[in-house]
Symmetry: C2
């Protein structure tokens, strides 16, 4: 079992059970790595496992989202590619977002909150840049970018609450054009 693959499974465990709900027994069962042997890979215990999972999501953000948004493609194409990537990453809406799970989970853990805040900011700013590039005014671009990330998060919550993936799938369909609308 490579650490690479292990961390990928940690992301899945934590976003299903949450930080407090994910026991070492759960993690061991889900990964196939013995409970005590997990400490060989993550001497810092459960907290280090969650941090590794967060880093993995950050890696996804950089390679699959930010790199695309900062590329030289046309704005509408970049936004559509983003939605495709998001749809895939969240498994058509069946997966929840690790950021949301950890951010809502508990108020105590400030370590997670800082990293999550940075990641969300990076995403919002990258979208805002694309919208400015498409001709939107600075302030409006910032608001709409924030609204885009906000709606993705909201869709993933609603999907879990309603047990229907349609809201998420519809958002991924309509978001690119809606972000670029000239009026509002």
């Amino acid at each position: 079992m490579s650490r690479e693959k292990l961390v990928g499974q940690l992301v899945d465990v934590f976003r299903v059970y949450g930080y407090d709900g994910a026991s070492l027994t759960n993690i061991a069962k889900a990964t196939g790595v013995g409970k005590t042997n997990l400490y060989h890979y993550f001497p810092g215990g459960k907290q280090e496992m969650a941090e590794a999972a967060l880093e993995r999501v950050d890696l996804w953000l950089e390679t699959s989202i930010l790199a695309n948004l900062n590329s030289k493609a046309k704005p509408i194409d970049k936004l559509q590619t983003m939605c495709e990537q998001v749809k895939q990453f969240f498994n058509e809406g069946h997966n929840s977002c690790l950021w949301a799970v950890l951010a809502l989970g508990r108020s105590s853990n400030d370590l997670f909150h800082q990293q999550i805040g940075r990641s969300l900011c990076q995403w919002i700013e990258a979208i805002a840049s694309v919208l400015e590039e498409a001709g939107l005014e600075n302030r409006l671009a910032k608001y709409r970018a924030e609204d885009a990330v906000l709606r993705i998060q909201g869709a993933l919550v609603l999907v879990r609450g309603l047990d229907r993936t349609e809201p998420f799938l519809r958002l991924m369909q309509t978001l690119p054009l809606e972000l670029l609308k000239s009026d509002r």
Copy 2:
């Protein structure tokens, strides 16, 4: 300590710590009711406490949100009142949503999911009715109503992630007019 007041505090504890994160020790400390004495009020233990908290949120939905949306006031006024109530209930964005916390918390607990799904549906349908009443086409009204609840949930997630309440407050400002826009 009346059960009324107790349940109100339970809502706060669960939406801060989540279901798994809220230990009986936590709850006892937050409410001032002895850990073992909690079983006097809730013989079903922690699960019954969470159910009581959910029921309390449902009561809020019915009295503060649905009653208003189903009233005879003008659509724009009803939507503005809704946003005022939401802003107040979530303490200007500082409180998170119990539905989101429990829905994201764990996949196992189907008891919560059913009730949360029903509540979200009721809310969405009530908004959709108001939008139809304002002249929007049936399908569009449904989509926008879903989008409204989705964005409220997303805003509460984003606020926790970014540690800034602005996204939530801005949404509460702009939502009523945006929902009624004739074009899009």
